[in-house]
Amino acid sequence: MWKNRAVQTLLIGAASTSVLIVVLIFLFLGKEAAPFALTPGLSALFDSKWIPVSFQRERFGILPLLSGSALVTLLAMLITIPFSVLGAIYIAELAKPLEREILKPFIEILASIPSVVLGFFGLVVLAPLVKSFFGLNTGLNALTGAILLSIMAIPTVISISEDALNSVPHVYKRASLALGASQLQTIFRVTVPAALPGIIAAVMLGVGRVIGETMAVMMVTGNAAIITANPLDPVRTMTATIAAEMGEVPFGSVHYQALFCIGVVLLLVTFGLNVIGQQVLRRYGMRQ
């Protein structure tokens, strides 16, 4: 009997590590970022300039970084949503069984290409294309980053949307077809609306991935910390700032703490998106 007990205790211990890690992530990010709240104070983060190294006055405003992340994410989702949703509709509703068996693994491969390899592809192939297409001085800008990010987000959004479309009960479709609706009408008036919560959740999880992406974005967005809404301007995202600068700051400096503050913001944003996305999925699941 003691053996069963011991095993069960061990397993509970293993299962608890996930909780422990989450607590430690919040604790240690908070711990390293906290001194910033005392000096220079959290209000310093709402500056419009990010100049962490300066002979006069360092400025740690994360607004340009927030706007950079927001612009790249928004553009990426504008590309991702139509491609993923229409692609998912095709795979779930229209493709023949054999065709589906070939399409799905191909799109899964896209999900497993490392982000640094995609970033490299963006740097040497995509950026020159964007540069010559728009006649720019450099192809390293928000648009190039957004295209690359959408390539990374598409597999995630497609596979969750496809699951949502597949989980719409067959009787809905049959009832619609029996009433004389065409296949197209059935897809867009019955199946897609019924799967909409799942598709929305898929998009939100995609947004979470896009905001958190680091390497590809750092390699192709040009890394200029400016506030802009022009897709053809270079921008700098929160993730890229941490990755690019953390290697060079002295541990414990104000700059170091500021980078951890960015990490906390990122963590909170992705955490929020994740919670809402899961909530939508769960409510949708309950309705089934």
Binding site: V22, L29, I113, V116, I154, S182, T214, M215, M246
Partner: protein
């Protein structure tokens, strides 16, 4: 199912969009394979880099990634499989289970660079492991843990209830039942799911950037407290930090190809194993 003209037009459009994505995947793979292949030879994968990576081989980076993958598996696999067994076989609906599930979902959504910061704060600085294989592996293990748990739980739940009931009815204890009648049938599924997760870890750059990766270190590590080079970080450095990026382009493509082969090889291998065992056990 032949519809009207406009209906066919819309079907054509949907098909075109889907195949555009497939074509894009094909083009990315094609570009890297075609331009990386000429560099790929024995000297490249077994030699040491010279002139900060402009010539020579990438052995230290391959070895570094190998050690990191090994370290990540040895930490994440027992924890992940243990969690999955608890969640699938022992846990009942309750507050504790809900909290664990929420934690797993949260971990799956944390950005990779935040894992890097976390690893820096906890393993590198607080535990004083320094930038080392140990810190990097532990950081990556935290990152792949949710993937391994979800995949393993799925494999465990696929084993029919009757197997457990038959064993319990014969008087076996709970753990005996799991050990002899559940684990053998779910092991392949758990392993393939874990390989898929670890394949992702092998290609990640952001978490190792702050916890282990060395810019240029043309030697092999002696212990788990050593820094190492790693394939993804090496590619990043060659592509963006090298003073003569154009000239080392072949080296960049070669490194990208090796990394891609490693990650895709792991994934394809896992998918293959899964397909094999799916045929073996039918219930």
């Amino acid at each position: 199912m032949s519809g009207s003209f406009s209906e066919n037009l819309i079907y054509g459009l949907l098909r075109a969009i889907t195949y555009a994505i497939v074509l894009l995947v094909g083009y990315i793979l094609f570009d890297i394979v075609i331009k990386g292949l000429p560099v790929l030879n024995w000297e490249f994968v077994s030699g040491y880099p010279h002139q900060s990576g402009a010539s020579g081989g990438i052995l230290p980076a391959i070895a570094g990634t190998f050690y990191l993958v090994l370290g990540t598996i040895s930490v994440a696999l027992p924890l992940g499989v243990g969690s999955a067994i608890y969640l699938s076989e022992y846990a009942f609906q309750g507050k504790f289970t809900t909290i664990i599930r929420m934690a797993i979902i949260t971990l799956a959504g944390v950005p990779s660079i935040v894992y890097g910061l976390f690893g820096l704060g906890l393993f590198v600085l607080f535990f004083r492991f320094g930038a080392s294989i140990l810190s990097g592996s532990l950081t990556l293990a935290c990152m792949v843990l949710p993937t391994i748990i979800v995949a393993s739980e799925e494999a465990l739940r696929a084993v029919p209830k009757g197997y457990r009931e038959a064993s319990l009815a014969l008087g076996a204890t709970k753990w005996e039942t799991i050990r002899t009648n559940v684990l053998p049938y779910s092991l392949s599924g758990m392993i393939t799911g874990s390989i898929l997760g670890v394949g992702r870890a092998a290609g990640e750059t952001a978490p190792i950037l702050l916890t282990v990766a060395a810019f240029f270190l043309p030697k092999l590590p002696n212990s788990i407290f050593d820094q190492v080079m790693a394939l993804p970080y090496h590619l990043y450095i060659l592509a963006t930090q090298h003073p003569d990026a154009e000239k080392v382009r072949p080296m960049q493509y070669g490194t990208a190809l090796v990394l891609l082969l490693l990650v895709l090889g792991l994934s394809l291998g896992a998918i293959f194993i899964r397909a094999h065992y799916r045929k073996k056990y039918k219930w």
